[in-house]
């Protein structure tokens, strides 16, 4: 009798041990299609840095716990070279590795190339790109990390009108999708505010913008908008505008990169009167985020300010995974995502928008900042609330 009870006990202990040991470890893998070479490399590097940070944070703080088991979070970055087929083949590589969660890519051609593959392989994705069709009802599992100019150009132009006088504006952007989509949206918003716009497009690869500047100034605009021209190009344009004698205010209603523009142009005094979209209002909270990155990763954060937007996006994605209790069911994760409040512990609160502009309410909108340089001196950032639909 004793022996059989002993044996029963041993058997039970052994069986439980086997069950516990056999409980599958939870491995969340996130695919990051990012442009890591060429002129857009800094954006991809910011994306990769943000995701790697969010992943490490999630692991250390055990933020992803599925069915009682804490998950490891690993990141697989692939260089997409800013082309549609680069993004498509990166997505196929993720599909082969059974990765269903994607954070990225950055640019419009890449988003165009990756969406069909994401749909075919039932993946959930958080994408950037200011293209007019970056998300839509045909792609219910694709989310947008933040509004484009359709969201935030208005408040920035208002701020500009408060400080400077201008009735006309010349908008300049490169002649590809990343340029035309944004410039045309900006033009519409300027017009709605009573400022007459003209649009100038330049060939990608132009190095000397003196002819373009001459052409822009022929229309005698009161203000200039650099739209989404890459920082290097924008810097040369500003430098040559000032050399040509233009003294009006300059807007940058496009992505971040003002420090780089200033470096190329030759300093803040060359920028003189300059307004731009800053993805983040730097305050104690966001500085705490920078310190956390440095502590966790052992290096200062990637310089490009898109880093903050990607951290927001990465954390929201992880929160949705946690809420859906699934690491690979795209529909469940998407459903959970739609119900999540748009908020981040360091960056602030916002809400979902996009129904009017894209036809699907899957764009995150959160507080941002308006960067202002007046008379060559940087002013404190003006915090702006999360934009509502419009």
């Amino acid at each position: 009798m004793k022996i059989s009870i002993g044996r029963l006990l041993c058997g039970t202990v052994l069986a439980s041990a086997a069950l516990i040991g056999g409980a599958t470890a939870c491995e969340l893998k996130v695919g990051v299609p990012a442009v890591l070479s060429g002129p857009a490399a800094q954006w991809g590097i910011a994306l990769r840095g943000a995701m790697e940070f969010a992943a490490k944070e999630a692991m250390e703080e055990k933020r992803i716990v599925i069915n009682g088991v804490p998950c490891t979070v690993s990141v697989m970055p692939i260089d997409t070279k800013y082309t549609a087929e680069g993004a498509a083949s990166a997505m196929n590589a993720f599909a082969a590795a059974n990765i269903k969660v994607i954070v990225g890519p950055v640019g419009s051609p890449e988003v165009t190339g990756m969406k069909p593959v994401a749909k075919r392989n039932r993946m959930v994705a958080m994408v950037n790109s200011f293209a007019k069709n970056s998300i839509g009802p045909e792609w219910p599992t694709v989310f947008h990390i933040g509004p484009g100019p359709s969201g935030w150009a208005g408040p920035i132009i208002d701020e500009g009108l408060k400080r400077f006088k201008f009735k006309s504006v010349a908008i300049v952007a490169p002649n590809d999708q990343g340029g035309t989509d944004i410039a045309s949206v900006n033009a519409q918003i300027f017009k709605a505010k009573g400022v007459a716009p003209t649009e100038e497009y330049y060939q990608r690869g132009t190095t000397n913008f003196a002819p373009i500047v001459t052409r822009m100034l022929a229309a005698k605009p009161d203000a200039i908008d650099l739209a989404s021209s890459p920082a290097g190009d924008a810097g040369i344009i500003v430098k040559q505008l000032r050399q040509a004698g233009f003294n009006g205010p300059i807007f940058r209603l496009g992505g971040p990169g003002t420090e780089e523009i200033a470096r190329v142009a030759g300093g803040y005094d060359v920028l003189k009167d300059f307004l731009w979209f800053e993805p983040i209002a730097m305050d104690d909270n966001t500085r705490a985020l920078e310190k956390k990155y440095e502590k966790l990763m052992g290096a200062p954060r990637p310089e490009n300010a898109d880093f903050f937007r990607w951290v927001f996006a990465a954390r929201m994605t992880l929160k949705a995974i946690q809420a859906a209790q699934s690491i690979d069911d795209a529909e469940k994760i998407s459903a959970a995502m739609r119900k999540l409040p748009v908020e981040d512990e360091h960056i602030g609160k916002g809400h979902w928008i996009g129904q009017k502009f894209f036809g699907i309410n899957q764009e995150m909108s959160y507080p941002f900042a308006i960067g202002i340089i007046e008379g060559g001196k940087q002013q404190p950032y003006k915090r702006a609330d999360a934009v509502k639909e419009g």
Binding site: L36, D176, G179
Partner: protein, 341 residues
């Protein structure tokens, strides 16, 4: 030109052609052997790259280096996208014929303009052509979708059956690649003596009575048509005709595939594409270093194997085959056309 007596002529399709076509037929089997999306995607990219590199190979048979392949790929790709989106044409045979013919026809007036140029002039003019093509795609906004391209092409159909997922896409690409290689093989083998004469010294060939312009024009049109097929395959894979897919910089890639593979034989084009596309995918995992690693690979391969990989293989077999028979050597030399190494 007098034909050699039937007993002495090399067979119509040489060993290389047979091997190449055989490998392409094997590509059809890949979707049945695996469901792995990466293998499917990689094979797809390799086949598209090889077909595009064919456009370079055909012109290289006459020692003309063409940078115009992306331009004709764009013609083929956009034609297919427009037919699919605007006219609802989805039958793969109709689309393939359209991609080939429209590109080949566009090549006729262009060829008339530029084929009298040689050497580095030809290179530059074809490069300028591709740049012009990109700009036209942007300027002709309403027709081509401008910088956004034409998005949302419907899936192609084969006899009414819709080909929509990864393995189907690969089969379409394999089919297009096979057709492209078949056409290229037929052309280069049927006219191998004429091409070889033009490649060696076209002025001399002309003085001996060869109407060079006819062969150059034919080759240029066929190369354009084959590039059009490659463009179709690319647009089909992405379901979008986007200008960034046809950038002038990609012409350098296609030229690299043809040369590193070995410009002396059609098999070289396929091998070169397979190895270099795989290398690019592999390097992409290393982020910022990828272009540099690719550049190093090119340098090393060119130094080690000036005749391309096929040239290296030929030398290898020649050294080992020397003990066996002289006949094998002659056979290999004749079949590789101009005997370049």
């Amino acid at each position: 030109m007098k034909e050699l007596p039937a007993s002495e002529r090399a067979p119509f399709f040489g060993t290389y052609e047979k091997v190449t076509l055989g490998l392409l037929l094997l590509a059809f089997a890949v979707p049945f052997l695996t469901r792995n999306p990466q293998i499917l995607s990689q094979s797809n990219l390799i086949l598209i790259a090889a077909t595009a590199a064919l456009g370079v190979y055909i012109m290289l048979r006459m020692d003309l280096m063409s940078f115009a392949v992306p331009a004709f790929m764009a013609v083929g790709g956009y034609t297919v996208a427009m037919l699919g989106i605007r006219s609802g044409v989805t039958d793969v045979f109709a689309l393939a014929a359209a991609a080939f013919l429209v590109s080949a026809l566009c090549a006729v007036p262009l060829g008339w303009m530029i084929l009298r140029l040689k050497g580095v002039y030809f290179v530059l003019v074809t490069f300028v052509l591709t740049e012009i093509c990109q700009l036209l795609l942007f300027e002709a906004g309403p027709l081509t979708g401008g910088s956004n391209g034409l998005v949302g092409m419907p899936s192609v159909t084969v006899f009414g059956y819709e080909m929509y997922d990864n393995s189907h896409v690969l089969m379409i690409t394999a089919g297009l690649a096979f057709v492209g290689f078949l056409i290229a093989a037929v052309l280069t083998r049927a006219l191998r003596y004429e091409f070889a004469a033009i490649e060696k010294n076209d002025v001399l060939a002309e003085s001996l009575g060869l109407a060079c312009w006819k062969y150059k024009a034919l080759a240029f049109s066929v190369a354009a048509g084959v590039s059009g097929l490659a463009g179709f395959a690319l647009v089909n894979m992405l379901l979008t005709a986007h200008p960034t897919s046809f950038s002038p910089l990609s012409s350098v890639n296609y030229i690299t595939y043809a040369i590193v593979g070995g410009k002396g034989s059609i098999l070289g084009t396929l091998i070169g594409a397979a190895i270099l596309v795989s290398a690019t995918e592999f390097f992409a995992l290393r982020g910022e270093l990828s272009p540099g690693l690719y550049g190093l690979l090119i340098i090393v391969m060119t130094l080690v194997a000036p005749g391309g990989i096929m040239g290296l293989a030929e030398n290898f077999f020649r050294r080992f085959g020397k003990r066996d028979s002289k006949a094998l050597e002659t056979k290999v030399a004749v079949q590789s056309g101009s005997g370049h190494s």
